[in-house]
Symmetry: C2
Amino acid sequence: MKKNVTIYDVAREAGVSLATVSRVINGSSVVKAKTRDRVLETIQRLDFKPNQIARGLATSKTTTIAIVFPQSLFAHVKDMIGGIGDTSRRLDYNVSIYTTDEIGDGNPIETVMERVIKSRADGVILFNNDEIDKEIEMIEKYKIPAVIIGGKASQHIASIMVDSKAIAFDIVNKYLDRGQDNIAFVIPKQNLIETDSMIEGIVEAYQNHGKTFDMTQQVIHASTHYEKSYQQFLDYFKEHRHDLVFAGYDKEAVAAINAAIDNGIRIPEDMEVIGMMDTNYALMCRPALTSVHVPVYDMGALAVRLLTKILNEENVEESKIVLHHLLMPRETTL
Amino acid sequence: MKKNVTIYDVAREAGVSLATVSRVINGSSVVKAKTRDRVLETIQRLDFKPNQIARGLATSKTTTIAIVFPQSLFAHVKDMIGGIGDTSRRLDYNVSIYTTDEIGDGNPIETVMERVIKSRADGVILFNNDEIDKEIEMIEKYKIPAVIIGGKASQHIASIMVDSKAIAFDIVNKYLDRGQDNIAFVIPKQNLIETDSMIEGIVEAYQNHGKTFDMTQQVIHASTHYEKSYQQFLDYFKEHRHDLVFAGYDKEAVAAINAAIDNGIRIPEDMEVIGMMDTNYALMCRPALTSVHVPVYDMGALAVRLLTKILNEENVEESKIVLHHLLMPRETTL
DNA sequence: CTGAAAGCGCTAACAA
DNA sequence: TTGTTAGCGCTTTCAG
């Protein structure tokens, strides 16, 4: 293994002290132009790459942010990775990923957070999920700056989200206005979007119309796997009908569509379906799924931006950023 | 910010030297049981978390592996992240991700690889893609241990793949046996699987039957985006018919299916369709897509395992691991 | 079995 | 504008 060239080598070759080399690689303005050029030339010539680890030790900063999420959330998360990747690259941060839910693993959350702490990441991005409370507990204990994507805003922690309550309220309210109150809400097993507040929105819409939303009859819990959800709906629709099936995630909406069709239910004539996240799934299924578009790329990008602001102690006007959503009408609604 | 507790604090509190503390946290067997217990207790009490950065500096090892891929490959990659995450957690490695293809960015590959080098990751996992050659060049230049997922095996670099040539050969050969030689191959814009060798397999199958595969007429290049591919096929099928459309990735297969149906082509009666990767897309579309299953989770897991073996200089029997694939017959084939 | 001390490669006062 | 020097927190000889 070729020995890595260090700042000492550069200093010696350029005939300056290491402090000077350090200054030029950190863009300090006090270095004389001529000296800088000589150092820069030497860096080029020796192909010197500053060791981030050493720098990290010296500065107690790793310029690394950790992102933590359960694998089963990955389908949602993937689109955010683009935003996270681009933005952290631009801001010169590295990103480390920590997945949490291996099958048959012991107490993964604690173990994983332990790793995050040891890694000394400067900050962490969390994704709303079933175990978010434990995660929050850990990062608060160790005072690690964090931002949460998808809600569950705690007092102290910044977050990026959409107004899930309003999304649900608006949609359900519209149907109730038309007198269609036989609505089912499908809760995906893992969800980035706060399904709790969606339910709040639904309940409120019902109250608004002097009706009540029956949690035991009108809420359907789906599986993580498409095929299982599909089978479940295949059974379900043998005995149940709805005016609208509203799903917290497109995948489950598609499962409902296919199962309904296979039970002879016509969509959208007999039953309408609305999904959430506006993924490729919505475009591919037939009839094409009406879905709520959520700006996932932006959520990732903003999360990084917000986190770095916190890390740099820039003053953060808003620690809760609510992004816009948009209903994309397609063929599963009238 | 609460000052982190260091190995010094533990040493002082436990009444031993830091060398001893270091020994117990590294599981050295030479420490007397009683001393070890005392140290362990102190570590517990002070809630000491060893600083990986400092350790990294001291050992010149970061226990971090970097994974590098273009965002547009993400749909493929995501399923591997599970395997990568689980395995690296079990082997006690961190994983950092580096995405490469921001829109409108300059020369991202070099920039990104530069970051990887600075980060001093112990090893890197690459995913086969358009720019893999540049990536390989960089890691060879800096002698970073690497494994490539999805092929493009170079002499020196380990890789995990499926036998894409055989996959293509077998499928096409079967149709040719039946006398159906009007076959189109759809190349996705970004692909993890070596489409080159798939084409080799197809060409060989044709030669096998004394026929020739016409690259200009029988190869279709698709877009990264589902909707664009769909539009493209909508046009395409106004004038073209095939016995079989074989796509290098499910997404494009689904685009073909939907576009064909919208052109009045019956599937599978008039035209059969086969996809690759066996994703959720294959299950969701109607008719359900026949697709080649590829063990993506395992590819990720094995990549990590192989890489760590290389890092530990265990002797690696096979630097090229070929995993099994399996055709999953569904409704788009007869 | 345990401790002292010399690094790992870099940054950041403090001097000059 | 540049150099000297003391860390950052840990590992690892080398003595004892």
